[in-house]
Amino acid sequence: MKLFRRVLSASMLGAALVSTAAAADLDEVVARGELIWAADQEGGGPHVFPDPANPQRLTGFEVELAALLAEELGVKARFQQGQWDRLPLLLGRAADCVINGIELTPERQRDYHCSRPYFAYSLQLLPRRDGPLDTFHTLASPGPKGRWRVGVLTGSAAESVMRSRTDLEVDVIGYDGTIDSLEQVLTGVLDAAVMDDCIFNFYADRFSRLRTVDRPFAGGFYTILTAGDSPKLSAAIDVAIGRLIADGRLKSLYDRWDLAGRQQMLMLRDAAEIPVARRKSLGELARDTLPLLLKSAGMTVLLSCLAFPLAVCIGLAVAVGRMYGPVWLRPLLTAYVEVLRGTPLMLQLYAIFFLLPKIGLALPALVAAVIGLALNYSAYESEIYRAGLKAVPLGQFEASLSLGLSKWQALRHVLVPQAVRIVMPPVTSDFIALFKDTSVCSAITVIELTKRYSVLALSTGRIVELAVVTALLYLCMSWPLALLSRWVEQRLERPAAGGGMTEG
């Protein structure tokens, strides 16, 4: 899975690099007979989601909008799946356009071609009905447990609006899934969520213990993204949206989806111009992003240095238990190893972070991440230590027993110290692997280096420059780690010197 993620992100970066040269313009779309539009079906309703009656089929108001637009261009619509906050990277390679509740922002105006607005959204604050948040202004002063914890969708307008509100006593926590934050409000991990009102309205029945507070406090428009170098396609999409507004097809579409069609049309007609953001100089880029990148690198180090020693201790205990423990314990430990090795780390993190709160055990994200990483890696470490223990000659065990040592004393003073030395190289290499695997923790809102890179690269549009800096940061951290472990390895090669009884 590690490898898969890396290949995936590398290929997306590649796609972004190539996009400048290879975007398909209108003539190519027409020749192909298909308009390929990208969205994230995991993002959910009412935009794009699997039809509950037939999960093979996609439905949602944007699915219908894409069909209408394609029809206007004289072609068929074809769906392309992508992860929501990285959809723009598909432009020019895997998709002609992105239609998925992409908010019109100055930064997006700068980096892509943004169509005229096709939908007006507003942001809602969503606490529990029985909670202390009853007006938006309550957020301006600390709550009973200190700063309010508010969840948002990573990369969404809700996130940037909430992060820019320095007047509020709020910690903003980004989630990869649209309704993850609603789940966490239910379980009490969050005080509230902020999202587009149409999304909450769609899921309101499922989250009936949550409610809207006040009127929407901010809003904006959705836009269709196309690559900057496909001007004819962009123009054709603008014209098509104009026709759909003018002849009432867009209104009747929104009416069918219960999206306040008339109000939408009024707002679309009066849509104000959104300014274009300026491209930052390298100096400004460094000043604005380096402190954040360094802080996130610190999180990466913290996660690894907390999780790995824990993984090693648990792994060693499991290995010893499987080989020398009571007979009834051995199959249980074998099952522990197989379950943790045989299921994805991401899924384990989800289970700890999102499912444990349902049985009343809500862990902070950092704790959940450390536990998840430690448990997952403990399975691998235990296999390494088992191999290490097996590699210690039987004669060492017999000699220990013959001196009157108990089984556990022999393990503690003779077998384990030798096994630890034998397995030093693979354990070191696992440490470096875990160090990079910490990036998976972004799935449960922990912002470490890779996540920070991904967010900054998308918000600044400086994918390559930041990638180089991020890679250098990783290297600066993993290389000393490699040196350190080589040093430890060499030290362990030597026997305990002088009077030191330092074995083990």
Binding site: G395, E398, S402, L403, S406, Q409, P495, A496
Partner: protein
């Protein structure tokens, strides 16, 4: 010091020990001789509980072993009084020679680090290896390693010492140096049981010789009579 009565042990269909009985008084050296596969090493390993047996009984240094599995606590107590030296030395590879000798006194007897180290150095001195106290076992010759292994077993001040072909892995010169140490111990009155192919040694150092063949005692008596 030890008595073996009607010891019987089988590996599935093969009878490794068949009604073996022998005794050894305090201060005597018993040599176990016989062809390979005659059961002498198995018999020795039964004496400190590394092997179990199917029938019969052993008493050694005041401890009694019955047929079947042994209780761990009993074995730990017995092994404080019964030391063992292996054919392949089995020194602890991660410890210096002095720590090899000092480990058991510290861990099992609870001596302080300083006391156990002092005992380790004293015993290394006795086998002529004090200069190598801080060396790793892997850097020593086979003969030196076996002398450290003897010192390690002596560190528990055992009442009986068991030797399992202590010189079979050594060339003649090193054999002589290890045999020198064992003979020295015999003179000092250490009770010992030695599995050996070396009839010269048996004649020189053993008070009694027991010859096994196919798991049975075929002859036993004074060295001069048996050999």
């Amino acid at each position: 010091m030890f008595t073996v009565s009607s010891l019987t042990k089988s590996w599935t269909h093969l009878r490794v020990l068949d009604d073996v009985s022998l005794t050894g008084a305090e201060g005597t050296v018993t040599a176990l001789v016989g062809p390979s596969g005659s059961g002498k090493s198995t018999l020795l390993r039964c004496l400190n509980g590394l092997e179990t047996f199917d029938a019969g009984e052993i008493t050694i240094a005041g401890h009694r072993l019955a047929a079947g599995p042994h209780a761990p606590g009993l074995l730990e107590r017995l092994r404080r009084d019964v030391g063992m030296v292996f054919q392949q030395f089995n020194l602890f590879a991660h410890l210096s020679t002095v720590d090899n000798v000092a480990l058991a006194p510290r861990v099992v007897l609870g001596l302080s680090a300083a006391e156990s180290r002092a005992r380790g150095l004293e015993l290394l001195d006795r086998v002529g290896l004090r200069a190598f106290a801080n060396a790793r076992p892997a850097t020593l010759s086979g003969g030196q390693q076996q002398r450290v292994a003897i010192a390690r077993a002596l560190a528990m001040r055992p009442r009986v010492m068991l030797f399992d072909e202590p010189t079979s892995a050594l060339d003649p010169e090193m054999t002589a140096e290890v045999m020198g140490v064992i003979v020295e111990l015999a003179r000092a009155g250490q009770t010992m049981v030695v599995v050996t192919h070396d009839h010269g040694f048996a004649r020189r150092a053993a008070s009694r010789v027991v010859e096994l063949a196919a798991g049975r005692v075929v002859r036993q008596g004074l060295a001069a009579d048996v050999l």
